[in-house]
Symmetry: C2
Subunit: 406 residues, 2 copies
């Protein structure tokens, strides 16, 4: 008999019929001889309607009250799931985040879990009840309702799995797992059976948004093995776990692409200490998220500094740069839209040389020009023309043999 | 500076515009120099949608989970009201029933308040915040969410007013107060300025559903004076309070009518001990609510027993009676629909004789036949033909001088 945590996202519980489907799946898990804790999100669309309501009564609603408001979304789902399970003849009990013992700091709308005291969860499991916990929410030690921000329900599931020492943690979603590449772009892409935390983090930060990085980081920190799988079929999903020796035999685990990028180059920046700091402090103040940052080798007494960012944030970044251009004495700013990023990710590339070369050869074979290159220990990323990103992904997928078996 | 509790019902907070109106009213109260605690219901329609959702996932949802589900309705409103008040530049804080210290027993969907520990309310008031409390809900000592059943938000307001020793408790609703009779039936009906708890209770139990009896009973028990008034204008409402000597000068405070009644007469019931008990035990087991019960003086060794009830419950009552008819040996059952009840209510009738006579005269003057009569210390009720109920109400209203001033 295993202790299993199952998390179902907003799409999986998006209407009464789907809620009944989830209930059947949970009951089947219990009937297979397991104890089950279920973590659920708000029904899809509910959070948006609540935010819309808030906007109609206040231009700038306080974060404390947003948390009181939004937490009703998950509370609605837990009650409905519990009712549906009871309707199938099994014992179930719903718990809000606070009732489940999820203690957070007081940073409303993006609280961090500081502690979990799963006394209630254990008591109900002992009573042979299926326990349904509201994801995304917690409570401060002085009893205020908090929410965990984006990806909060995944985090709840992984944190509870850690706290109750669950044998299995399953993250049910609307995709079958993590793929070697987006199947809409690379038709030969296949589901990855197992992936390391670090690879998963690199995939997430490179555009494969199956899960938010913070949940994966938490799982890594506490050694929680979890599976990402679909709530709409019974296919096994992708196991996310510590890296194994076996994993290293695969040089590249997957390819991640990110469109809608833009590139900014500040030309002829005087080569003296503090200049780069001045530029990026100005950008940081705008809360624009930068991706790759590349500084060319200095030629003479200036160099060029380039960075990429989401193209929607370009105007904000430009405004910030314009305000410091005179002070730093650079020549000018050149921007370019219509670019995209392709990243190859794999812990195997640590021990294999020539990975970057193989990627560049694949791009060259397709006549694709590489504009920027950035590497980490387990990732190599290139910026190319957005019009060629699908072709590039297919070429790289082929070059690293990802269409074959892992 | 007074400490004021204001309660707003579902219609008063039924949409974002109305929520903003309530926020303005609350802020105006604070700006007039008062400390304010606001109790709110779910936005009108929300509770029904939640019940509808529950029915779609379970034919017989458990009461524990219904409470978890329904309590989200008021939680949504408190957050929105707090946001709206903050948007007007004032400090506000929302509290769920549990957070506000409303401790109930564990009878889900119709819990009773057993204690209020208003520590949080006091702390926030001291901090000059407007405190918004979710009506209709509480928490058991072991942390389960409960709801108080019908009229629960009024009860929350009155219980909090009692616990924090508020100077004023205002129940805002969609009517201007308690009227001498339903103005749709008696156009000369006028708003009553002050009414005693007992009169209010008799009016409520006789069909004037401004408030549920349990809230009035609670107010009476703890001596909470409250005002029923409209949230859509600034007219003073009706004060509900202990009776005063002055009140007794008015013989009849108001007239209440109740349509959709039915009468059941069991004829020739053998006149021996235990027979009536047998009949009404059988009826009680069906949970049918009976109103008037009249037993005629025995003629020979049998008598007739009549009672009235809502006509929708007639089939249930008949089935219950059929099962005991043989056992008790009565002759037969006669039922009649199309009847209505008219009640005159007033503490003044205690000390004035001839009240019933004046009512009967008024009915006689209109050629209205009286089928049953029932009296209590401060109420006289008659059952008449439903087709004549409006005329009867107008005649009685005139006969007791209710169109004039109090």
């Amino acid at each position: 008999m295993s202790l299993i945590v199952q998390k179902y996202g907003g799409t999986s519980v998006g209407n009464p019929q789907r809620i009944l489907n989830v209930a059947r799946r949970v009951v089947a898990t219990q009937e297979a001889g397991h104890r089950v804790v279920v973590v659920v999100s708000a029904m899809s669309g509910v959070t948006d309607s609540l935010i819309n309501l808030a906007r109609q009564v206040s231009q700038n609603p306080s974060e404390r009250e947003m948390d009181v408001l939004l937490s009703t979304g998950e509370q609605t789902t837990i009650a409905l799931i519990a009712m549906a399970i009871e309707g199938l003849g099994k014992k179930a009990v719903s718990l809000t985040g606070g009732q489940a013992g999820i203690i957070t700091d007081g940073v409303h709308t993006k609280a961090k879990i500081v502690n979990i005291t799963p006394k209630q969860i254990h008591a109900h499991l002992k009573n042979e009840e299926i326990v349904i916990v509201a994801g995304f929410q917690g409570e401060t030690t002085d009893g205020r309702i908090t929410t965990l921000g984006r990806g909060g329900s995944d985090l709840t599931a992984i944190a509870i799995a850690s706290a109750i020492k669950a044998d299995v943690c399953q993250i049910f979603t609307d995709v079958d797992g993590v793929y070697t590449c987006d199947p809409r772009i690379v038709p030969t892409a296949r589901k990855i059976d197992a992936i390391s935390y670090d690879e998963m983090l690199e995939m997430a930060s490179s555009g494969s948004k199956v899960m938010q990085s913070r949940s994966v980081e938490f799982a890594k920190k506490f050694g929680v093995v979890f599976e990402v799988r679909s709530s709409f079929n019974n296919n096994p999903g992708t196991i996310v776990t510590e890296e194994t020796e076996d994993m290293e035999n695969v040089v590249v685990r997957g390819i991640s692409i990110e469109k809608n990028q833009a590139k900014v180059t500040i030309r002829q920046v005087p080569d003296r200490p503090g200049t780069a700091a001045r530029i990026f402090t100005a950008l940081a103040a705008t809360s624009v998220i930068l991706d790759m940052i590349v500084q060319s080798d200095s030629v003479g007494d200036t160099n060029d500094i380039s960075f990429t960012l989401n193209k929607d944030e370009l105007p904000k970044a430009q405004a910030a740069l314009n305000s410091v251009m005179k002070e730093i004495g650079a020549k000018d700013i050149v921007t370019e839209e219509g670019i995209a990023k392709l990243s190859i990710v794999g812990i195997g590339m640590r021990s294999h040389s020539g990975v970057a070369a193989r990627l560049f050869e694949a791009m060259a074979a397709g006549g694709i020009n590489i504009q920027l290159i950035s590497t980490s220990e387990i990732k190599t990323a290139v910026i190319i023309d957005e019009a060629k990103i699908n072709e590039a992904a297919q070429l790289a997928h082929e070059a690293f043999g990802l269409s074959g078996k892992a």
